[in-house]
Symmetry: C2
Subunit: 233 residues, 2 copies
């Protein structure tokens, strides 16, 4: 775990957050700060700080006399990277992975189109480099090295779009991609068609062809969705 003891409250958070998002404390259930303090052997101050954070994620609601109640799932801040990480580590990982992939399929094509218009020469170069890296590692069981390039590629596209909302999804995409490689059994080398598409996207962006970049990225997204359909029923 990334539990580097960056403070007691952070450790507590790393216990409570996953537990709540995993449904261990179902919505509506109540926690009491005293009880938590005792159970985790920390002061109430520490518990309160952790609860404040969970509250800011809309995972729980703290009301006087009542306690800390877990909020219904629909109200959670599911865009919070921390929450995403917790949920991806938990039980309904497949569902989560699907949600995020659908989001990707909506966002990345548009981002690629914008990138074709606004990418700097440096970003174009980086993109081409990453695409070449993907080609170079696409055969011979080098999935880890491939993944690094894949993540970097998508991150550059999102950032090059010039839209900060898109850029911030880089982490999400990284989680999805690495999750896919790490968790789902991928014995085989990546789909050659996908690799080619990445190269072509880099090309389109470099040439400033927004329409083509968008269309190609949409094809990549469709592929990712189909792959998900095959691997997770």
């Amino acid at each position: 775990m990334t539990n580097q003891a960056r403070g007691l409250h952070a450790q507590l958070l790393e216990s409570l957050g996953p537990a709540i998002t995993a449904g261990e404390y179902p919505p509506g259930s109540v926690l009491r700060t005293d009880e938590l303090a005792q159970r985790f052997d920390v002061s109430r101050t520490v518990v309160r700080e952790a609860v404040r954070v969970l509250e800011s994620m809309h995972l729980v609601e703290s009301r006087r006399r009542v306690g800390v109640t877990v909020r219904p799932t629909e109200e959670w801040n599911v865009y919070d990277p921390q929450v995403i990480r917790w949920r991806l580590a938990g039980a309904d990982r497949p569902r989560q992975l699907r949600s995020l992939t659908v989001l990707r399929s909506a966002v990345e094509p548009v981002a690629a189109g914008l990138a074709a218009q606004f990418a700097t020469p440096e970003q174009c170069a980086e993109l081409t480099g990453r695409a070449l890296g993907m080609v170079a590692t696409s055969r011979g069981r080098q999935l880890d090295a491939y993944l690094v390039h894949d993540i970097a590629f998508h991150r550059v596209v999102l950032r090059a779009s010039g839209n900060e909302m898109f850029a911030r999804l880089g982490d999400v995409v990284a989680e999805v991609l690495s999750g896919r490689t790490r968790h789902q059994v991928m014995f085989e080398d990546p789909d050659p068609a996908a690799v080619t598409l990445h190269v072509q996207v880099a090309e389109a962006v470099r040439e400033g062809d927004a329409v083509r970049a968008e269309r190609l990225t949409r094809e990549i997204a469709v592929g990712a969705l189909q792959e998900l359909d095959v691997l997770a029923p």
Copy 2:
């Protein structure tokens, strides 16, 4: 303000959050908990809780011996509804509004396509009702009533997509739409073409025509972007 004194720490947050997002404390600047406690006349405990929340939003970073330093803008959790609200209330509202509208233009068409496939009969009914409501309030300076229907319409589409990530963007869209109506001077009645498009989207969703629903919603998005280009240079 929605400053209902739900606790001292929340009040402090409502002071610090907007100040930071507005750039009043530029990235890199440091705050000290002692100093804040003194300045706002609260205990350090309260300050620390507020700081914890800001930290979870990645707005600040608290390090020993250094203090609480404001993080660079690119690291902020810009999907946090609270952060969005603060930034929309602040100075760079136009930039923010554009970012969010671009996000909408990417997400909503895909959401509409999914809604056409998965919307329940109740959701179809609600959608049609809202579209009709928009028509009914589209003339004669009833912008407020129109806005209510508009927001509800988009919210239903996002929820009907069946994707929780999309569903959670309902609040964001609501902020964007109400912000547009409230802030930018809209003397005139809404664009009749847009109203018609909404009616047609409701139609397409009801008939399960995903491709048409997506295409029509994309037209709405393009319109929103163009409108933004005209009103904000």
